[in-house]
């Protein structure tokens, strides 16, 4: 079985967030980590590898320094790593990002593609489902539990008040939640090997069946009109009432705000 895992290097959102003058993110200026949902997706792939035997390829699109998360993934147990990087891919929204990843993945054989549900920088949860659409394969998002059954995959898919047990024919795309598992640590041997392992680097020329008009900032249908730091909210009201009055106060506020 061949599994492709899409991972993303993201700014650690606990640190400061910085922008370029054009409103896009200045990723170069921020501390970075492997996106937590993607790491859970990688762990899920590695468990399938442990259980059924599989070749796990990690793919990322980003700046050259995104190679760091690919090496981390290989130190955890991924077999191959591909970095998709090119100036013309910069400033991409989710449409252009999913087009880029689709163009890269068309070079690969795969039974399963696993992505994180969402990245902690954009929080959109869009790239996984959009990628599946471009590749014309089924998607199961919010996966809780993944099993292989012959040429199919059986997944628990979480909704607000229920879950569906879904069966999809492979190839199929699954989006993983950080709650899915507890990702393994890199092993010392794995780190040693990952330092020496080859990371394949692809640029625009390696992307298959993608037009220039669908790539980068110019190929992005959505455009940023304005971006700014969130204004921290100040202190609100504070009251000191007896319990019955306190209840009246809270219920009044809940009504005022259309909560009830």
């Amino acid at each position: 079985m061949k599994i492709v895992v899409c991972i993303k290097q993201v700014p650690d959102t606990k640190g400061g967030v910085q922008f370029n003058p054009d409103g896009t993110l200045n990723r170069a200026a921020m501390l970075t980590i492997m996106n937590p949902d993607d790491k859970a997706g990688l762990e899920a792939a590695l468990r399938l590898k442990d259980q059924y035997g599989a070749e796990v390829t990690v793919v990322t699109m980003g700046l050259p320094k995104a190679e760091d998360v690919l090496r981390e993934a290989m130190a955890m147990g991924a077999d191959k790593a591909i970095l998709v990087t090119d100036r013309v891919l910069g400033g991409a929204d989710t449409w252009a990002t999913s087009q880029t990843l689709a163009g890269a993945i068309r070079n690969l054989e795969y039974d399963l593609i696993i992505t994180g549900r969402q990245a902690i920088d954009g929080d959109t949860a869009q790239v996984g489902p959009q990628l599946s659409e471009h590749l014309n394969i089924p998607v199961i998002s919010y996966a809780q539990n993944i099993k292989i059954d012959g040429d199919s995959v059986i997944v628990e898919r979480q909704f607000d008040d229920r879950y569906h047990v879904l069966k999809a024919k492979m190839p199929c795309l699954i989006t993983a939640l950080a709650e899915l598992n507890e990702p393994r640590y890199m092993t010392p041997g794995g780190i040693f090997d990952a330092c020496k392992a080859e990371v394949t680097v692809w640029g625009r020329a390696n992307l298959v069946d993608v037009e220039d008009s669908n790539l980068g900032l110019k190929g992005s249908p959505t455009q940023i009109a304005k971006a700014s730091d969130k204004v921290r909210k100040g202190q609100g009201e504070k009251v000191n009432l007896d319990p019955a009055e306190s209840v009246d106060y809270i219920v009044g506020k809940l009504k005022e705000k259309h909560v009830i």
Partner: protein
């Protein structure tokens, strides 16, 4: 793409078990506001099996038109038949704006549809306006009027971005539940109902539903909760969390907690809010018996409404609370639960 061909505000009227989700009425309400600014009307798109009778409810909340896609393949939500339904409606009717709830369903469906149509999609919006893009004139760049301006938090709530989709139609957004206001219900209001079936032919993208388990699973995510009733050390004991659970049940919320509660072994880690737990942003966050260490505040201060109950009036939680109540949680919380039970039963 001739942008002028695209007219009207459309919203996806999410239903589950043939019961319309509240987000559908919220989107109809917001859609009506946007339609008024644009001089157009609002259409709800209802997808399911045996759902035609639900159209009147959408009319009562303000829909001018309801497009009903009724097919046995659409009985339970599955990505493919629903994506086919919405993409077909968009191709046939050409809306200029299409809104979808940012629910577990909508955030799966929206991206699949936008990718099929080739348009932009902005996720989890908290504000929608009609205006110019660019916001202010830029020399050498055409200013486009009557654009949908979609505002959303990003970077874990550290930033706010406003996004436009000037060159593609429809302008699509998923909208966070509980943020937009429903319009008052007008009993007896009617909408034009259009039945539309694009034909459903199962292919490899149709997944098979083996089972539907209607129970809140162990991994229920406090990050998805609209209302959180969160307790801290001040609750006093694991048994006393019962009063929080009762409040959560009555108001349709979920219980969460502070780190002190997890460290004491009263609640599992999955329910912990804060820097080493989860970052939450519900519509309402009750902080009950939580002093408000900075690590806790980092995980919840972006909540829309924060209500704090604490006996210590110097507790830092009051610095971020919209409504702070200095008092005894053991008296206030049970009384609040009873009062809400009565208020909500009367509705």
């Amino acid at each position: 793409m001739n942008l002028e061909e695209y007219k009207g505000v459309y919203v996806f009227a999410q239903q589950v078990d043939n019961k319309i989700d509240s987000i559908a009425f919220e989107l109809v309400g917001k859609g009506k506001d946007l339609a008024a600014d644009l001089g157009t009307d609002v259409t709800a798109v209802l997808v399911g099996s045996g759902v035609k009778d639900l159209a009147d409810q959408l009319a009562e909340y303000g829909a001018d038109r309801v497009i009903v896609v009724d097919d046995p393949e659409c009985k339970e939500y599955r990505t493919e038949p629903y994506a086919h339904a919405l993409a077909s409606v968009i191709k046939e009717f050409k809306p200029e704006i299409f809104l979808v709830g940012a629910t577990a369903i909508g955030r799966d469906l929206g991206p699949r549809v936008s990718a099929r149509i080739h348009t932009g999609l902005t996720a989890d919006c908290t504000q929608l306006d009609i205006g110019d893009f660019p916001l202010n004139p830029v020399p050498g760049k055409e200013t486009k009027h009557n654009q949908l301006l979609m505002t959303r938090p990003a970077f874990g709530g550290n930033t706010i971005a406003t996004i436009a989709c000037p060159d593609f139609r429809p302008q699509m957004a998923t909208v966070r539940p509980g943020v937009m206001q429903k319009h008052p219900r007008v009993p007896g209001a009617k909408a034009e109902v259009i039945e539309f079936n694009p034909g459903f032919v199962p292919d490899h993208k149709y997944v098979e539903i083996l089972d539907v388990v209607k129970a809140v699973s162990d991994t229920v995510d406090i990050m998805d909760a609209k209302i959180l009733v969160s307790g801290g050390r001040g609750v006093g004991s694991p048994e006393n969390f019962k009063i929080l659970e009762d409040l959560a049940e009555v108001i349709g919320g979920t219980v969460s907690c502070s780190r002190a509660v997890v460290d004491a072994g009263w609640k599992p880690k999955a329910l912990q809010v804060g820097q080493t737990g989860k970052t939450v942003r519900p519509n309402v966050y009750f902080a009950i018996g939580i002093s408000g260490a900075i690590q806790h505040l980092a995980g919840m201060e972006e909540s829309d409404i924060i209500i704090a109950i604490n006996k210590d009036e110097t507790a830092p939680i009051f610095d971020v609370a919209d409504y702070g109540i200095v008092g005894d949680l053991n008296k206030i919380v049970p009384a609040l639960t009873e009062r809400l039970r009565v208020e909500l039963a009367a509705k």
